[in-house]
Assembly symmetry: C2
Homo-oligomer: 314 residues x 2
């Protein structure tokens, strides 16, 4: 058994989180991961309070294990959703796209675990009372920072005393073992769970990830820092990159460009017009498996690799 | 002792390479690293054959251990330098900025180890007869690709059978242990050795690295892919980034911008006009030590961490 403080804190068996991917991570996928001993996380994305309440009801029907909700702090519905999560006493709340400080008091019955992209964000989260942080490198899919997992995780571990989970660039037991060598006490994976059998994302999206190689992703939005986003190269993302660097393009234009594109990918499977967010490890994700099989494989491989690590030392 | 195939292949004690940083990695630094049991590497950068010959003579006076020369394949002097390295039977040749395939036959008495940034580059190097590859993530300083170390190393390890060294984002024993969990058989560090006591780079350069935080580096040249370069944020690099995205700027303009800036940093210590190339782990590099102390610390910490890895598993 691989045990770390995060397992004790949350009452989970395996320190493996499933990332709260917008339009992708719903109650069904999250329940499958939680039932496998990891922590399933539902994305509250930009959705209204009714949607989130429905998802919480659903996951309670599907599992009695701890689960999380990922709150996108820039959501137009964030205030009502935050209130709902407090009322529902959701076990774990992960946050992205902003500072969770103002909600920590409201969420006193939940473990709050922000996604951080720098040492300063991690320190601020700890000061505010976060239970742990997820240090996410820019190799991950979706909205990203600048630091990579390899550079970010040890620097965050040196800066805080709360548990650190590593995210970004992790697809298998090797990545999990590497993260733990850097000082992490657990991991979060997104892209790997995107192709889980229980994931309801459009089959075309899964196919894009399954067929991807190491160089299949591209970052768009870098010119206007705050919106850097990693996804699979297709007509949409190549066109985005082209327009982005057009002299006449403004930050507002870029914000407009992405509108609705994630839905087109995840729900409609529109190969050309969709935004297929995915991480650099897409090239390593080649098989569709159940969420339980993914959790077990990563966990068991990690255990085997950690046990064998001392064999390097002769 | 941490032993891997690369140690046997090269006749070195410790699988730790010192990166061949242009204007920084000379015979004195390389000899210190080789004498410490690692592999010191002299940068041939854009220099002419007389400079490189002089450096080879010097390192032979300073060490009887194996050493390497890093060849920048886009150097205007590459043909003469390549010939010289063959005549001198340099033990190890690492290559960057291009494909080394055409030189492998000429360098038959050397171990050729290209720096690669993708699976395709690694496969091509193996096919051509490379002894190993250095898989370098974009968190590293200087010229970089797109993939990060965490995502690149396992994908390269799955694609080739020759030894893989990991570079980028590695500053200490944790990083080395993580690299080995990903499948690497050794590491290359640049930034950490830049502040070694034996490194003759200008003191201002060392100070910039020693004072850097996790978010102190910036990538310039991304708009015109082939020239992406990571360095410390200063007047030069901020200005470069600004001009780069100016509508009127062309790829040639950008190439011009960087001319002489590395010399201004490394030789003159010009804080404002120099290009201070360094990796994202600059924030972890806080002490000046001898090359031997660096090699020993990283190696011993890695050994201790690998021995302790099985303690995670209860």
């Amino acid at each position: 058994m691989i045990r770390s403080r995060i397992c004790e804190q949350l009452g989970i068996e395996k320190p493996i989180f499933q990332g709260g991917m917008a339009w992708i991570a719903d109650a069904k996928l999250a329940a499958a991961v939680s039932n496998a001993g990891g922590l399933g996380i539902i994305s509250a994305m930009n959705a209204d309070v009714e949607y989130v309440a429905g998802q919480i009801d659903l996951i309670h029907q599907l599992t009695d294990q701890p689960f999380g909700i990922n709150v996108m702090l820039m959501s137009p519905h964030v205030k009502e959703v935050a209130q709902l999560l407090a009322e529902k006493r959701v076990p774990v709340i992960t946050t992205g796209a902003g500072s969770c400080t103002q909600y920590i008091e409201l969420w006193k019955d939940s473990k709050v675990i922000p996604v951080v992209a720098s040492v300063a964000m991690a320190k601020s989260a700890q000061r505010a009372g976060a239970a742990a942080v997820i240090a996410e490198g820019q190799e991950s899919g979706g909205h990203i920072g600048e630091l990579t997992t390899m550079a970010l995780v040890p620097q965050v571990c040196d800066a805080v005393t709360i548990p650190v989970l590593a995210a970004g660039g992790i697809a298998d037991g090797r990545g999990m073992a590497a993260a733990m060598m850097l000082g992490a006490e657990g991991i979060q994976m997104g892209t790997r769970f995107l192709v889980a059998e229980e994931c309801g994302v459009h089959p075309v999206y899964k196919e894009m990830v399954l067929k991807a190689s190491d160089i299949s992703t591209i970052v768009t939005g870098r010119r206007f820092q705050a919106s850097s986003c990693r996804g699979i190269k297709n007509k949409f993302s190549r066109n985005f990159a082209k327009i982005e660097y057009d002299p006449a393009t403004t930050a507002e234009d870029v914000a407009q460009l992405g509108a609705g594109a994630l839905r087109k990918a995840a729900v409609e499977g529109n190969k050309d017009e969709g935004s297929f967010l995915a991480g650099q490890i897409s090239g390593m994700v080649n098989t569709q498996m159940s969420a339980k099989a993914i959790v077990d494989e990563v966990y068991n491989d990690c255990e085997r690799i950690l046990r064998g690590a001392s064999q390097w030392v002769k």
